[in-house]
Point group: C2
Chain length 308, copies 2
């Protein structure tokens, strides 16, 4: 049964530089990437804030998708801005600036209509805000969160509280090391499971992603799955890849009859697929060009690539 | 039908430093790692040179495996030595020194008994020596080669000759970039296939490996396969991982009835398995501790990790 997913995250106008291109004021933000990606599979309810400079054209575009915008607040002022420069090869990046703008006083207000939604994705925002979202919800069935080095280093205690109240943590390999002081993925994942989180996804960028499940009741039921990234020859802009991944993962999972490891494995592959589309153009351009058929085609190809 | 594989490569006594340990004069070299790994699947014929300081104990150990040592020359003098230091996390390393010693005037002399062997692995040695090996062989069915940045940068023309005469090139992602000036694996692999090589394996270290097949006659038959690395929580010394990988790959492939993409996919998984054992102890220690049952167990686990 197709369910809905509530996402809380950033809505942004990014400035992005790569070796070959430079773009200013392009639409971005975790909630945006997540929502479009996820809406191919389930209804997405977006919670976030945009400034009055956020393009109305984009709002109109989003309405064409299965995205509920009741939780998107439009506020007098400028939209959150992230400025970044990618190194040659697109695998490393430097943040040039972050202008919080209307995001500065953002306090997520969950519409009543969203409070019983079974699936929740807490995008990469301050742990306090993530906690405030959880406190507003009735009793979500499945909560996933993303985070970043800044919160790991500066708000670890609060972050651990969010993690303990969630079902799935989605982070990248560097963040895992920061969080656990373990460079080895297997050791790092194990120590996080000890903290009480059942599912962990480790994103490894161009290499793919691990999904780890730890069962406290039956350790033999604990499982590991790896899905390689879809090998695209045309990466242009990695911004939003992780959020597109999370959208594909959560959107697909919410469309399944139940939460089990087999469905989560498929969800991981869909996550990789959505990430691969996202990076092929700047901003959300590519995500707006594809349809369900394109997604299914890549899913089949990626399955073939990773199956003996 | 189980076939034999001839390997030509280095025999070494390495000095290895990691964060937690320092070892001097430990047995290493591409031919050594390759032979032990490969011998779990097929007969391996080793061609190389060792100095009189090479431990007799190791020679005796090798004899317990399905390894033919007729092509291993023992020469007055010191064995080839590589000294290296691994960075914290074991993912990067610096070469501290290379003492060629008896390897300096090494000219591979293929025993008559090896000249009709159908499978050949040209370890990472000078392209001229790789060519001289090919010139001594009757008509091998399947030739694979490894190489390194030094030969890519300094002996590109000769190296390209070897590549054109081979069926499979096994390199890592950095070497692919050096060879093709492409950072994108898919583009790099494509441009190498254009040079006429049918199969390419791209090793991505801890992330796993790609196998790419390009069919000139039927491009629809071209295929890609990805196998993640076996996730070991206990890496100690990555030295020889790539050669253990190659040994597992070639050894398994030679044990198959025919060379086809399905068998090569399985061979890639066995390659990853042998690499994962190799790194769990310094030198060849772990490889000497395992048996076929350990290998099959990991094979099953890795298949499970990567299969939906």
């Amino acid at each position: 049964m197709k369910q809905a997913v509530t996402v809380v995250g950033s809505v942004a106008l990014d400035d992005i530089e790569t070796d070959v291109s430079q773009k200013t004021d392009v639409v971005g933000g975790s909630a945006i990437y997540f929502s479009i990606s996820g809406s191919f599979f389930s209804k997405i309810e977006m919670v976030g804030v945009a400034g009055t400079d956020f393009p109305k054209k984009t709002i109109e575009e989003l309405k064409k998708y299965d995205i509920d915008l009741e939780g998107l607040k439009l506020q007098e002022g400028k939209t959150f801005k992230w400025g970044g420069r990618y190194h040659s090869g697109l695998q490393k990046r430097d943040t040039l600036y972050t202008h919080l703008n209307v995001f500065k006083n953002f306090s997520p207000n969950i519409p009543d209509n969203y409070k019983n939604t079974p699936y929740v994705f807490l995008g990469n925002i301050q742990p306090e805000l993530q906690l405030s979202v959880l406190n507003q919800l009735e009793s979500p069935e499945f909560v996933a969160l993303d985070t970043m080095n800044l919160w790991i280093n500066e708000k670890r205690e609060k972050l651990m509280k969010v993690i303990k109240r969630s079902d799935l943590l989605i982070i990248n390999d560097e963040e895992l090391t920061d969080l656990t002081e373990e460079r080895n993925i297997i050791k790092g994942v194990r120590s996080l499971h000890q903290e009480g989180i059942k599912y962990i996804i480790i994103k490894k960028g161009q290499h793919g992603a691990y999904l780890s499940h730890f069962s406290t009741s039956d350790q033999k039921d604990s499982s590991l799955f790896y899905s390689p990234a879809f090998p695209t020859p045309l990466p242009k802009d990695p911004t939003g890849a992780g959020d597109s991944f999370a959208g594909g993962f959560m959107g697909y999972l919410a469309s399944c009859d139940e939460i089990n490891f087999t469905n989560m494995k498929k969800a991981l592959v869909y996550g990789n697929i959505m990430g691969s589309f996202s990076i092929e153009e700047f901003s959300i351009k590519k995500l707006l060009q594809i349809d369900k058929k394109d997604i299914e085609e890549r899913y089949k190809k990626l399955r073939k690539i990773s199956t003996i």
